[in-house]
């Protein structure tokens, strides 16, 4: 299959896949190695933003060339991933914030006081 591609294009596609995989792997290492929850939430973001993006871009280029028509439905994967990660992240992070505040951790910003109702 890869023989159908001109050399420069197969190099480009491979480079994108390898770089994307590297970024995702770096994010996963971050998830394992970093010390606190708030630091760890930043690791997987690399996989969902540029890591995944590059792999999807490589897929789009490869199939556009080999199938000889425009293949862009990878864009939708990227779009949905970008739209849904903030939701899970906010759920997880706010649950942790809530727990840390209840436990009285010092290094967590306090819950803002409710404003007095305007008369």
């Amino acid at each position: 299959m890869i023989a159908d591609l001109p050399l420069w294009l197969s190099i480009l596609v491979s480079a994108f896949v390898v770089l994307g995989a590297l970024l995702t792997m770096a994010g996963c290492f971050g998830l394992v190695r970093l010390k606190s929850f708030y630091l760890r939430i930043h690791g997987p973001t690399m996989g969902t933003s540029m890591g995944g993006g590059l792999i999807l871009l490589a897929s789009a280029i490869y199939f556009t060339v080999t199938r000889e028509r425009l293949v862009v439905h990878e864009l939708i994967i990227f779009l949905f991933v970008s739209l849904t990660t903030p939701v899970t992240l906010m759920l997880l992070a706010r649950a942790t914030l809530f727990r840390d505040r209840v436990e009285g951790q010092i290094d967590v910003p306090r819950r803002p006081e409710k404003l007095a109702p305007k008369d």
Binding site: A26, S36, L39, T45, V71
Partner: protein, 161 residues
């Protein structure tokens, strides 16, 4: 017209999404896609009661280009911290005041900041219009806030308000 198509932007978006998913622009796909787009956008009034107005659509492209560049930059920055033998990022919480109040603009800002490795949108307080952000590697807190305001908030304000 308003009653049939309360959210024209959403309907167009759904139709395009449908055609891209089907990977075809045949008449049947357009017909079925239009029916779905109109039905779903009409159903969406239950959750999006207000009309969404995009004042300067071309600025959205500028916004996405800026965000894309920032995603690449911060990916490389975070990767260089992570591949360090002993990663010691100077992480911190930043509480930021926003002038932005439009829910769609806020949602887009949240998506961009979260998609950028190195910053995560944690908690928005509508009463005070502040947002709590966790930043992976803070060098200068005020400069960070100023950058977000300059790069994204002004654009979003121009687009939505």
């Amino acid at each position: 017209m308003r009653r049939l198509l309360p959210h024209p932007i959403l309907a167009c978006f759904l139709l395009v999404l449908w055609l891209v998913l089907q990977q075809s622009a045949g008449f049947g796909h357009i017909l079925l896609g239009s029916i779905i787009a109109i039905a779903v956008s009409a159903a969406a009034t239950a959750v999006i009661p207000d009309q969404v107005i995009v004042k300067r659509p071309y600025k959205l492209l500028v916004l996405f280009a800026v965000a894309g560049l920032d995603v690449i930059r911060s990916n490389l920055a975070v990767m260089s911290v992570l591949f360090h033998p002993r990663p010691k990022p100077t992480a911190g919480f930043i509480e930021m005041e926003l002038t932005l109040t439009n829910s769609f603009a806020l949602a887009i800002l949240a998506c961009i900041l979260t998609a950028t490795p190195g910053s995560a949108w944690l908690e928005y307080d509508r009463e005070r219009s502040t947002v709590l952000i966790h930043v992976f590697d803070v060098v200068d807190e005020d400069a960070w806030v100023a950058t977000v305001k300059r790069r994204y908030e002004t654009l979003l304000l121009e687009i939505f308000e």
